[in-house]
Amino acid sequence: MNLEEIAFAILALVAVATATLSLLVRELVHTILWVAVFFVDLSAIYFLLYAPFLGVLQLGVYAGAVTVLLLFGIMVTRKRIFAREAATGLGPVPLGLVLTVFIFLVAALGELPQGLVAQRSYAPSDLSAYLFGPGGPWLLLLGLVMLTSVSGAIYLVREGRE
């Protein structure tokens, strides 16, 4: 195993462990902390996959903005932010369903071409040239969706609406 493979194995284990922990711990604030670690870990995986711009975007948008937004959501809806959640039963049906989905996905791997290796690195300037050239409609679509969702969010939380 070379250094990159070892790094990937560690990052993948940390990703799955922190994602699972974030959904299993009972304090909501601890959930946010674990999910922040998960987002930072994913950003490291993007760097490993030769996507430095996406890594930085993941750090800024997810580890920064989304985490703080979720923390605000907890702060404004609870009297004590460290209060514990009620324990929820794990139940055999959700566990069985999740295991089935995972086994199905892993079984589907055999259909894919094998023995591929990561080949190329993209400079952020290439990505921006693509996004402001042939990929322009994607950015326009993102702008439209953001505009409508912000309008929707303001409509949902405005005062005097019952």
Binding site: F8, A15, L23, Y62, L70, L105, Q114, A118, L141, V157
Partner: protein, 106 residues
């Protein structure tokens, strides 16, 4: 370049999707549901990024990364709308437990 394992990334993505699905099925707090959906969405974004990295020589992998950029934006707007729903639910019900928001049930 390196010999990063192709199948390893896909197994990681499948595992993250399974964890997100598990959260959606078991948790009743709206914020935890949002986090579970984010984890599943991150699994999908990860797929786009590594199919871009593993693209063969004649096909550029840039569209994959561009779609990943757009999807990260979508996920952020999704959290914003989700938190607006959390605030509205908290005002009307006094709690963000999704089991209590059952007016639309038959």
């Amino acid at each position: 370049m390196s010999g990063l394992p192709f199948a390893g990334f896909l197994v990681l993505s499948g595992a993250l999707l399974a964890v997100g699905l598990f959260g959606v099925l078991t948790r009743r707090n709206f914020i935890l549901l949002l986090i579970a959906i984010e984890i599943a969405m991150n699994a999908a974004i990860l797929n786009f990024v590594y199919f871009a990295a593993f693209a063969r020589a004649p096909s550029p992998g840039l569209p994959g990364q561009a779609i990943a950029v757009v999807l990260i934006g979508f996920a952020a707007t999704e959290v914003a709308v989700g938190l607006a729903i959390v605030l509205a639910l908290n005002r009307v019900k006094g709690s963000i437990n999704v089991a209590e928001a059952s007016e639309l049930k038959l």
